[in-house]
Symmetry: C2
Subunit: 142 residues, 2 copies
């Protein structure tokens, strides 16, 4: 089974330093900084990369789960929102919200919501993040 | 505090469908598929995006921790390796290895290893991934 690679380099101190990150495929290449992570500076940050991993994993898992239940997934679009907050123990990722809109043939609303929850609980990235509060809001498109 | 956004769309079934993913900054834009995730197809996958989040978070946290201990971080380069494996319950992320090489002024080897472990345990992405086995291998560059 595959092992996937990504690299990041940080140069200098926390507040004045700068970083860059690249994935094995080369499709993600970005600079990041204290400002792009905790303020509104331009660049990437670990939280949006985590959100990308989660949205991608969830969308794929949801397709698999409805397919296994006998439905035909047409399109699943998911936005992940990852919140980081400062508390007594420093910065923490305090929650992830998955907001998904999906077009799935012939599925009823109740089954749709059950399968969305199943995908939220079961996708490999959700399970890796089991110690983080994750919620899903699912809309069935007509 | 910031909430970061990423989006993914999956079209079609698990084996024949295809996906794309984008982060709020726009710096990550990639296609993904069953083949790019579980086989050797070209494209991105959730695991390398998770690795990017983790390597970026760890490198930044390690800089902060050595700085707080009175040392000057010059350069911290980290490779994250994320393994996904198929078991009885389906695919699972079974481990993440962080391999870091760092140039830090005047730090001794023992303190360096302690601080690397502290960064591995304490960085926000590591804590979000607390249910996943994570290890760190740290090399102090002269």
């Amino acid at each position: 089974m595959p092992t996937r690679i990504a690299e990041a380099q940080w140069t200098g101190t926390l507040s004045k330093g700068k970083g860059n990150v690249i994935t094995g495929s080369g499709l993600t290449r970005g600079d990041y900084s204290f400002a792009s992570r905790f303020e509104s500076g331009s660049g990437t940050n670990p939280e949006e990369l985590l959100g990308a991993a989660h949205a991608a994993c969830f969308s794929m898992a949801f397709a698999m789960i409805v397919e296994q239940a006998g439905f035909t997934p047409e399109k699943i679009h998911t936005v992940a929102r990852v919140t980081i907050e400062k508390g007594a123990g420093g910065f923490s990722i305090t929650g992830i919200v998955l907001q998904t809109e999906a077009k799935i043939k012939n599925i009823d609303e109740k089954t749709f919501q059950e399968k969305a929850l199943e995908a939220k609980n079961g996708c490999p990235v959700s399970r890796a993040l089991a110690s983080t509060p994750i919620s899903v809001r699912a809309t069935l498109l007509k």
